[in-house]
């Protein structure tokens, strides 16, 4: 069971989630709704990946069908069906469950790489079919509906949608957490660790995997229908590979080995895409870079690294670690600054606007604006600054890593997670 301290932490978080949003402006409320939805989707995805050990590359399918199911129910409510609007995600849950059962039946016949390919193929199949099935998915333009009032709640403002989403996300998140405590939840872990043994113990491994897959599909469907309620519209692009890719990135950056890890990843990515996507076109590039760096240097993700530190908090010599960790954060920031500078410079210099101004200037390499300063494409400082930032950052990281390894080794264990802070620093 959870300790008193973690219960207190969760209660504080819950109080913040309840109390803060009304004070924020509309854009932030909307961003928080997206964070909540992404968190639930990542949790549902991680039930399959982290707990059952089945790596799916096509979870957009269940997210998408949930969204469309919710919209069809909302259209029916608009036409006079007496159904409470707050319970609309139930439609997503049912459809996600059914589609998950069918798809899971086929996909879980194989494991490993083959499972990943089958799930990818199923999602691609739905993505290709969806624009043609006009009645179900509304063709290229998609379908839309309005949130109908229920019991005096109008669902007109974003804050009402926020509380509805929060309620569903907490309900489903709690359900998924309690699931891990049940005997079947333990069986799910066993499926990941040793499937053959599960079979020898007399369980039907295939049926169990189908059930886990279907539950994951069901909760993904709820997340999808929450998105549909928030946006009041959806089209076939919900089934695209990007959506499946996003949830993979979020889950593994957050950490698939810890239950709440995916929430960290989803919250970071959803918030950053809200904050940064207006400033840069290269946001997806940074996401990919962060993902690869986390895979290379902290395979258990941010959540895993935090858990690792908490687990050893009593054995560690924290005062000795403080300085190297601060240096590592600084080095990480330098590297991040170097990468961002270089990327944005490339984006400007190879961009269409710059090509047009160059053409107007007769093909000369004219200076350009970036970060509030003017840079000359032929000047040495333009290239030296990112190089020096990167070089200095990497040098600091390499040096500091040895010291941190030594501190960790001093308590009798290899400091394998040391680079983690560098990568989390890289996010900023």
């Amino acid at each position: 069971m959870m300790s008193f301290r973690s219960v207190l932490l969760l209660a504080t978080l819950l109080a913040l989630l309840l109390a803060v949003p009304p004070l924020l402006d509309l854009a932030w409320q909307n961003a928080l709704v997206n964070v909540l939805i992404a968190s639930l989707f990542a949790l549902a995805f991680n039930l399959l990946v982290g707990q059952a050990g089945l790596l799916s590359f096509g979870h957009a399918a269940y997210f998408g069908v949930g969204a469309f199911a919710a919209l069809h129910l909302m259209i029916a409510i608009e036409d006079g069906l007496a159904f409470p609007t707050p319970l609309v995600p139930l439609a997503g849950a049912v459809v996600g469950l059914v589609v998950g059962l069918v798809a899971g039946f086929f996909a879980t016949k194989r494991s490993g790489v083959y499972f990943a390919l089958v799930t990818l193929a199923i999602a691609e199949l739905i993505h290709a079919l969806a624009p043609r099935l006009e009645g179900l998915f509304g063709g290229e333009s998609g379908i839309g509906s309005m949130r109908m009032p229920f019991a005096g709640i109008v669902f007109g403002s974003t804050i009402e949608v926020y509380y509805l989403t929060l309620g569903w996300v907490l309900f489903c998140g709690l359900g998924l957490y309690l699931y891990t405590l049940t005997p079947f939840g333990r069986l799910t872990l066993a499926l990941r660790d040793n499937e053959q043994r599960v079979r020898f113990l007399g369980y039907d491994a295939h049926s169990s995997k189908v059930i886990v897959f279907a539950i994951s599909g069901m909760v993904s469907g709820v997340a999808g229908s929450l998105l549909a309620i928030s946006n009041e519209t959806a089209n076939y692009s919900l089934f695209a590979t990007d959506v499946s890719a996003q949830v993979v990135l979020q889950t593994f950056v957050g950490g698939s080995t810890v239950f709440f890890g995916p929430v960290i990843g989803a919250a970071i990515f959803a918030l950053f895409s809200f904050l940064v996507s207006d400033l840069t076109r290269s946001w997806v590039f940074y996401q990919g870079l962060i993902f690869v760096l986390v895979m290379l240097y902290a395979p258990t993700g941010i959540g895993g690294a935090i858990q690792h530190h908490i687990r050893h908090r009593r054995q560690l010599d924290w005062p000795a670690l403080a300085a190297p960790y601060a240096a590592m954060l600084f080095g990480g920031l330098l590297v991040a600054a170097g990468i961002v500078f270089a990327t944005e410079m490339v984006a400007v210099m190879f961009g269409e606007d710059y090509a047009r101004t160059r053409e107007a200037a007769g093909g000369a390499l004219i200076p350009f604006e970036l970060f509030g300063a003017t840079w000359s494409p032929t000047g040495p400082s333009t290239y030296l600054i990112p190089l020096v930032l990167l070089g200095a950052g990497i040098a600091i990281l390499v040096k500091v890593r040895r010291r941190i390894d030594a501190v960790w080794a001093a308590r009798g264990e290899q400091g394998s997670k040391t680079q983690t802070l560098a990568t989390t620093g890289g996010i900023q």
Binding site: Y114, S282, F291, L296
Partner: protein, 272 residues
């Protein structure tokens, strides 16, 4: 008849192109058990590198340099990135290549923009090979097929007739035994990965001049190539040749035929 012959020709050349990409993928999977998600990105990288350097050094030189560059990138990935995640299992290797595919696609968008680039074949290759049923058949399609055939023959001879080929096959079957006999297996793995990537790059450099070169070409081809290697049997070179031709023919016939299940039913009087 006209439709059948043209479709067969198109299907075979497209199938051979698919084979150029899937050969490397299946070779790498057979050897290391790594399903390289970034493989189709190597194909795209080949096309874009050839597009970028061909105005400077010419089309033919670009056809050599681009695959070499992509091969070096592949070797770097195998040497410095994959071993770091190897101990965490195949899922992490899959995820790493997945992330790399994303990075390559975004880098290409960063340098070349979101829209198709104008990568054209040189004028001396722009003629019709023969005229069939009143239509000119472009020589370049045959050129694509020819490059694939030459490449496959070279690969086949290399694998079955040379000493290097025997070491590679031994490394695929029993890596530990081959290593115990004194062969440098990590080096072999690196070169196989590089060769596979270079083949994809060559395919991209050749085909990019004929088919559209845009940032989506990787993911579009990638899905088909996964179908090819799964249908052909992961790890089997001959199987993937057969599957490539099959899928190539299937897709070129499917484009031209407007059949549906309903028209099948109308054969027995149940149609609309």
């Amino acid at each position: 008849m006209e439709f059948a012959i043209i479709s067969t020709l198109n299907g075979v050349t497209y199938g051979l192109l698919l084979f150029m990409v899937s050969a490397g993928l299946t070779l790498i999977f057979g050897m290391m058990g790594v399903l390289n998600f970034a493989h189709a990105s190597f194909y795209m990288l080949g096309a874009y590198v050839a597009y970028a350097i061909s105005p400077i050094i010419g089309f033919w030189a670009a056809l050599v340099i681009a695959p070499l560059f992509v091969g070096l990138v592949g070797m770097g990935v195998e040497r410095y990135l994959l071993p770091r995640v190897h101990k965490h299992g195949h899922a992490h290797e899959l995820l790493l290549t997945f992330g790399l595919a994303l990075i390559i696609e975004e880098l290409i968008k960063l340098f070349f923009g979101d829209f198709p680039v104008n990568y054209q074949m040189p004028a001396e290759l722009r003629f019709s090979a023969f005229t069939i049923f009143g239509t000119d058949y472009p020589f370049y399609r045959l050129f694509i097929g020819g490059v694939a055939v030459v490449m496959f023959t070279t690969l086949w001879l290399l694998l079955t007739r040379t000493r290097t080929g025997i070491v590679v096959r031994a490394a695929e079957r029993l890596p530990h035994m081959a290593e115990a006999l004194g062969h440098n297996i990590p080096l072999v793995f690196m070169f196989v990965f590089g060769t596979g990537a270079a083949l994809a790059g060559l395919a991209g450099a050749v085909a990019g001049a004929f088919y559209p070169t845009n940032p989506n070409m990787g993911i579009e081809l990638g899905v088909i190539v996964f179908v090819v290697v799964v249908v052909g049997g992961l790890g089997s070179l001959k199987g993937s040749l057969l599957a490539s031709l099959l899928i190539g023919l299937f897709s070129s016939f499917a484009v031209g035929l407007d059949w549906s299940l309903a028209s099948l039913l109308s054969l027995v009087g149940l149609g609309d």
